[in-house]
């Protein structure tokens, strides 16, 4: 893996949207700072009210949490509000080469907004994230298999598998009727899948906590710059976040940083290197 702290990252400006029940702002900001990016955390209401809120930011992060309580359905109320008040600006941000990362509730939100899968211009929801097959919230670390052939800029430097905490109640991906799943898979727009101990994609609980078909844990758009996933890379920020860190310490294998940072670093590096 490439080094984590990226020198040119100081030129990278990231916008982290907060408020309305979102709750991962502190770790997301700290993780991006650790990599070296400049981070602004702003309340969604202020970002909506400020027509220039996205200007100058190459990365917009939709963080985890319970936007509006996830009432009705996860991300639904937030996605609607974005569609009515910020949708055009977000599309322009992506069209102008900007990156968007959605984590957990952020993934649910940009999927329901229609920013993903992003096969055609505009905001068009063609997939959704629904209740886990085993109803209810579930918190456990998962293993993800990474598709090295995906255009996703966030995941391209990751090792073949990575472990991250997963915690959600609505992470099962469903598709519109028709051949969409095949299209997404053929174009390698599934950068990460839940994997079993051998590293193979799985639909079996608990390795796959939500029953997502093909173990799909995240999606990107064809440009690779818009990416969303259910597990939480920002919550594997310190080596001590890993469930086996004490064993790793005693064995002398404890990494210097939490490996989830590498996923965020992929996005930052893509910006810094262009």
């Amino acid at each position: 893996m490439n080094p984590l702290v990226i020198e040119a990252a100081a030129e990278v400006r990231a916008l982290v949207l907060t408020g309305y029940g979102l709750n991962c702002e502190a770790e997301t900001c700290a993780a991006l700072q650790t990599i070296g990016a400049r981070v602004t955390a702003r309340h969604v209401a202020d970002a909506i009210a400020d027509a220039d809120a996205l200007a100058g930011h190459q990365l917009v992060v939709f963080i985890g949490g319970f936007s509006f309580g996830d009432h009705i359905a996860s991300g639904r109320v937030f996605a609607n509000r974005l569609r009515y008040r910020m949708g055009e600006r977000l599309l322009r941000h992506v069209d102008d080469g900007g990156l968007v990362l959605g984590i957990c509730n952020g993934f649910q939100t940009i999927v329901k907004l229609g920013l993903l899968p992003g096969l055609e211009p505009g905001l068009k929801p063609r997939v959704s994230l629904v209740m886990n097959d085993r109803l209810g919230y579930w918190d456990a670390w998962v293993r993800l298999a990474v598709d090295r052939d995906s255009p996703c800029v966030f995941t391209r430097d990751l090792p073949p598998t990575i472990e991250l905490p997963s915690r959600h109640g609505e992470g099962k991906l469903v598709f519109e009727e028709g051949p969409l799943r095949q299209v997404l898979e053929d174009r390698h727009l599934v950068p990460v899948r839940y994997a079993d101990e051998a590293g193979a994609a799985t639909e079996r609980w608990p390795d796959n906590p939500d029953g997502s078909p093909g173990g799909i844990a995240g999606l990107c758009d064809p440009s690779g710059r818009v990416f969303g996933l259910m597990p939480h890379p920002e919550a594997y920020m310190y080596p001590e976040n890993h469930p086996h860190w004490i064993a790793q310490r005693e064995a002398g294998t404890l990494p210097e940083h939490g490996l989830g940072l590498h996923l965020l670093a992929g996005g930052v590096r893509a910006i810094a290197s262009r």
Partner: protein
């Protein structure tokens, strides 16, 4: 007497529903003519999962209704829009709410048999479950918000939500059973219809157009019987002595109190708020028959006494800044942590509401205790939650008294409530435990706690201090006021019986509170307020009454308070415990900025009046007097009534020697080698010992990204950790260590021993994980059966004596370990009187310890690290099987409750902590409930390595000289003060030199995994095998779900399944 009419008409409890194709109701029934609600129309929206996709809620519901086998089951979300919108707008709202990929919706109703699964035949039953009028419906609030976003304008009215379950292939009686199983009639309404259903349904509008009346209560003329009738019928929970004191006070004023004044006094003087039992002088006859008087009461003598003694000893011991920042007087305790932050900690109980509505009651518990930490000083940032529950036996199959829910149902509801409340608040959990005993069937104990981090300064001020000044504005923040939670404080101060008030139950709205918490963090940093406290028990009467003490008074107008629905009396507005509310003191020159920020953050903030210095709490309704009380009388007027305590324990016949020998004796081993292993396996599957991971993983463990030693540890992350560790702030190394001790079964033998054991275990756990020994603080939570002698409680004197002994033990242990008590809570009426049966909980003390680490990277857990490491036990094992898990498992009544040699333990722990900090120890765990056998089992599961232990004669020997222990006694004794640890072979000599004098003894060795690649545990005495089990076998009993398939899904309503 004044009469004011609310502007809205008499609310209706019924309205027509729209039909699928007809749009909104065209013509309203005559009883609510259009002109009174000109613009509100009612629409029913129904949304279902796309028929070709699986319906997870239906699957889980089917599992919950085991035994009923419908041929088909699907669910629908139902939204009743009662809004000022037209039919085309309703269609647009439907489109905004429906998932275009995964759902199908209709204005009106979907066809009854929509989505019928293959194999479903015949006309379905449609069961619709929604809230009763007035019950908090936070999803409804969000739907209204979504409708406003969609239509681009603010809307009037409400949205009500429900879930429809469509069953195919059920008989009428079965459908009715499903309805009973799926709803709690206290808060929900169920409508069961056979297809084709009539399209007429009720909108659960709440409130009415009652006159806003302030009544006067004729107290002066009342005789004693009348006084008591007023107290009982009004749910005031005031004693005759207290009623007389109020009577005397108003006689002196020459008038009678208003209803609001009497209610305000009842809330403020309630046991819940005033802790009268802990304040009362007690004449105490101890076990030796000596009688003395505890003049200053239990709290001052033992609780604050312990803390003052510890603080005094500490002040002389180190020259650093005081460890205690704020204790006892605020909503939570505050201690020094780092140069930048203090730590805040509070643990609460929410027992009575959880008995009636486990989901709502427990959720209110977690969001309520979050508000406690949020409202400490000038506010704090919430870090992590803890929970612990005591329930009746989950597999109880006898006859429950009428009015009690089955413990299993209570357990499920409590978990769901705290899961939803905590997860949606964005706060991970750290500690979680459950205990089961038949005596908790009457009232479950629901402990919830919150750790918060408080910046040492904010906006240039010390954050720990409130600085309210006269003239500051009283601002109510957050949720609106309804009838929910009225009489919560007084309700929890009496036993549970058939007349318990249903409105005492509340449902939290965690997302509203999360927005309040985010708002407060911003406003605090900007210095926009000078003080705050939460609205918990007693509502505004308590929060404003308490804050008024800073300035010496407050003046408020209750008519300004925003209401959920019309029709509340002024006294109800004053004491409602509707959730998610904080009361702020705001300097006048900051008010506009505060209100502006609140508007931008969509948090409701309402000025109600101002703090004054006149020594009076005054409330008006639109200018007309409602309440006028002297603060002095309100807070200090409670008569202190001396109580009597006498140690007179009931007879406790011990088991016959032969029965004991059959379990603990030597001959058994010869007859059945390895039979101790069988006892261990059986023990691990008992409710008190078995894993509850299938429930615990429904709670967030990881949000905030600060976890270090998680609630579940080990190779497979399925062993409960000894203590948890987390960072307190990002990019800093300092850590918070949490642990607890709870041993009600020792209290059955001796409450003093229980208290010592609780403090000891909590301290020992925290030290195992790496806590600094000189930065520990503790919280005490007492849950007791009524300890006041009366006709209903003939053994009250003994129960109070148990409380005295518990306090003595608590103080002794805190002083010995140098651990101050920084906050606490007592809940003193945990009895249920139902259908002529009285169920009282066993006296239960919970001690929660909060520790600190300078660097989390040095933390330890319980998992053995590597083969060849050595296993030691630190601390002697005695014959302590009284109140033990083994005694309960084998149905024995045994003597020998673990007493704790506090001085020896304190010295042992200091030596242990020093050896640990010197890097000599690789893993550490406590021997607690279930003794060494269970500790070794946990280590085996966590390490997935072999553990080979040898029980030597030295380990069995007793000092002072007594009969040596049998191996069974040694392995299952619950002697306190013991740590099982591992070290590298090379460290053994130095470790022995350091800890040998404190009772370090070799126990065995870590070994390579077994042939199955997993861990194993073998315990021998010489050649005799005592235990020989694999980790797989242990796991099968400890965590049957891992072997026998998935855990049963938690039943849940659609609106509770989040993210």
């Amino acid at each position: 007497m004044r009469k004011l009419r609310f502007s809205q008409p008499k609310a209706r409890l019924t309205a027509e529903w729209s039909c699928a194709k007809q749009g909104p109701v065209a013509q309203r029934p005559a009883e609510h003519p259009r002109e009174t609600v000109p613009e509100l129309c009612t629409y029913r929206l129904e949304i279902a999962v796309r028929p070709d996709l699986s319906d997870a809620l239906a699957t889980a519901t089917g599992a919950q209704l085991a035994g009923l086998r419908p041929t088909g089951l699907r669910t629908r979300k139902v939204y009743l829009l009662d809004l000022d919108i037209g039919p085309a707008e309703a269609e647009r709202v439907l489109a905004a709410l429906t998932d275009p990929v995964a759902e199908v919706g209709a204005v009106g109703a979907l066809a009854d048999d929509f989505g019928a699964p293959a194999g479903a035949a015949g006309d379905p039953w449609l069961l619709t479950i929604g809230f009763r009028p007035g019950v908090t419906d936070s999803v409804g609030t969000s739907v209204k918000r979504a409708a406003e976003d969609c239509l681009g304008r603010p809307l009037r009215g409400h949205v009500y939500t429900a879930t429809t379950y469509v069953f195919w292939g059920l008989e009428a009686a079965q459908a009715e059973r499903a309805a009973r199983e799926l709803h709690n009639p206290l808060i929900e309404r169920a409508t069961l219809e056979r297809s084709p259903r009539p399209h007429a349904f009720a909108v659960p509008r709440a409130g009415g157009a009652h006159d806003a009346v302030v009544a006067t209560v004729a107290l002066r003329a009342a005789d004693d019987a009348t006084l008591m009738r007023i107290s009982t019928q009004g749910m005031l929970a005031l004693s005759l002595t207290e009623m007389r004191a109020i009577q005397r006070h108003f006689a002196g004023l020459g008038r009678d109190p208003t209803d609001a004044e009497l209610e305000c006094l009842a809330q403020t003087w309630s046991e819940h708020c005033k802790h009268k039992i802990f304040a009362a002088p007690i004449e105490y006859t101890d076990p030796a028959g000596r009688t003395r008087t505890i003049e200053r009461g239990l709290f001052r003598t033992y609780i604050r006494g312990a803390t003052e003694a510890v603080a005094a000893a500490r002040a002389t011991a180190d020259g650093e800044a005081p460890f205690l920042v704020s204790v006892f007087h605020d909503n939570a305790g505050v201690v020094r942590f780092s140069d930048a932050d203090h730590l805040v900690y509070k643990v609460e109980t929410h027992n009575s509401p959880s008995a009636l509505d486990p989901y709502g009651g427990a959720m209110t518990g977690i969001v309520g205790v979050n508000r406690d930490s949020l409202g400490t000083g000038l506010g704090a940032d919430l870090l992590t939650n803890v929970w612990g529950y005591c329930f009746g036996e989950p597999d109880f199959n006898g006859q429950l008294p009428p009015g009690l829910m089955h413990p299993r149902k209570i357990r499920e509801g409590v978990h769901r409530g705290v899961i939803d409340g905590g997860n949606q608040s964005g706060i991970p959990y750290s500690r979680g435990w459950e205990l089961f005993d038949a005596r908790y069937a009457g009232k479950p104990l629901v402990y919830c706690g919150t750790v918060a981090v408080m910046p040492v300064t904010s906006a240039g001020r010390p954050t720990a201090n409130k600085v309210v000044r006269a003239g500051d504005v009283v601002v109510m923040l957050g949720g609106r006021i309804g009838k929910d939670g009225i009489h919560g404080a007084t309700f929890s101060s009496v036993e549970l019986d058939e007349s318990s008030p249903v409105q005492a139950v509340q449902i939290g709205d965690p997302i509203t509170q999360k927005m309040v918490a985010d708002f407060l963090a911003e406003a605090r940093a900007l210095g926009l307020y000078s003080g705050l406290t939460d609205n918990g028990a007693g509502g505004l009467s308590s929060s404003i009454g308490e804050m008024a003490q800073f300035t010496g008074g407050a003046d408020i107008d209750l008519a300004l308070a925003p209401l959920k629905y019309p029709g509340l009396m002024p006294w109800e507005v004053l004491i409602s415990e509707a959730q998610e509310r904080m009361t702020l003191a705001v300097p006048k020159d900051r008010l506009e900025a505060l209100l502006e920020l609140a508007r931008r953050r969509e948090v409701e903030a309402t000025p109600l009046g101002e703090f004054t210095s006149g020594g009076r709490l005054r409330a008006t309704w639109a200018g007309k007097p409602v309440l006028d009380l002297e603060l002095e009388f309100l807070h200090e007027g409670t008569p202190r009534v001396p109580l009597r305590a006498r140690w007179s324990p009931p007879a406790r016949p011990e088991s016959a020697a032969a029965a004991v020998a059959a379990v603990l004796g030597e001959p058994r081993l010869a007859a059945a080698p390895g039979s101790i292993g069988q006892d261990l396996l059986d023990m691990l599957s008992r409710p008190n010992m078995a894993s509850n991971e299938h429930l615990a993983r429904r709670y967030d463990h990881e949000v905030k990204g600060l976890s270090v030693v998680k609630p579940w540890v080990g190779a497979r992350q399925d062993v409960p950790s000894t203590a948890t560790v987390m960072r307190a702030r990002h990019l800093r190394p300092e850590g918070v260590v949490l642990a607890e001790g709870v041993h009600p079964h020792y209290g059955d033998l001796d409450a003093d021993a229980m208290a010592r054991a609780c403090v000891d275990e909590a301290v020992r756990r925290a030290l195992c994980a790496g806590a600094r020994i000189d930065r520990l603080a503790a919280l005490d939570n007492f849950c007791w059966p009524d300890p006041v002698q009366s006709e209903k409680t003939p053994d009250g004197e003994h129960k109070l004596a148990q409380l005295v002994r518990c306090c003595e033990g608590l103080r002794a242990a805190c002083e010995a370990f140098g651990v101050p008590l920084i906050s606490g809570k007592d809940s003193m009426k945990n009895d249920a009187h139902l259908g002529g049966v009285k169920i009282s909980i066993p006296p239960t003390l919970l001690v929660s310890v909060i520790g600190q680490m300078p660097d989390v990277r040095r933390a330890l857990d319980l998992a053995p690290i590597a083969a060849d490491d050595l296993v030691f036990v630190l601390g002697p094992t005695g014959r302590h099987l009284g109140g033990s898990e083994l005694a309960r498992q084998r149905g024995l009544t045994l003597p020998g409750v673990p007493t704790t040699d506090l001085a020896a333990a304190a010295a042992r722990y200091a030596a242990f902590a020093a050896a640990r900090d010197a890097g000599l120890i690789r893993s550490a765990h406590v021997a607690g409930r279930g003794g060494l056998a269970v500790a070794l089992a946990h280590m085996t599961l966590a390490g997935e390595l072999g553990v080979e232990a040898a029980v030597t004669e030295g380990l069995l020997r007793q000092v002072p000289e007594d009969m040596p222990l049998t191996p069974a006694e040694f392995l299952f004794s619950e002697s306190t003060g013991r740590i099982v640890l591992t070290c590298k072979p090379a460290a053994a000599a130095e470790l022995t030199a350091r800890l040998g004098p404190h009772g370090l003894q070799a126990l065995g060795q870590v070994a390579a995994p077994g042939q199955d690649g997993g861990g194993w545990l073998r315990v021998r005495r010489g050649e005799q095998v005592l235990i020989d089990v694999t980790a797989a076998a242990l796991r099968e009993r400890f965590r049957p779900a891992a072997v026998h398939g998935p855990p049963a899904p938690l039943p849940a309503r659609a609106q509770e399944v989040r993210r």
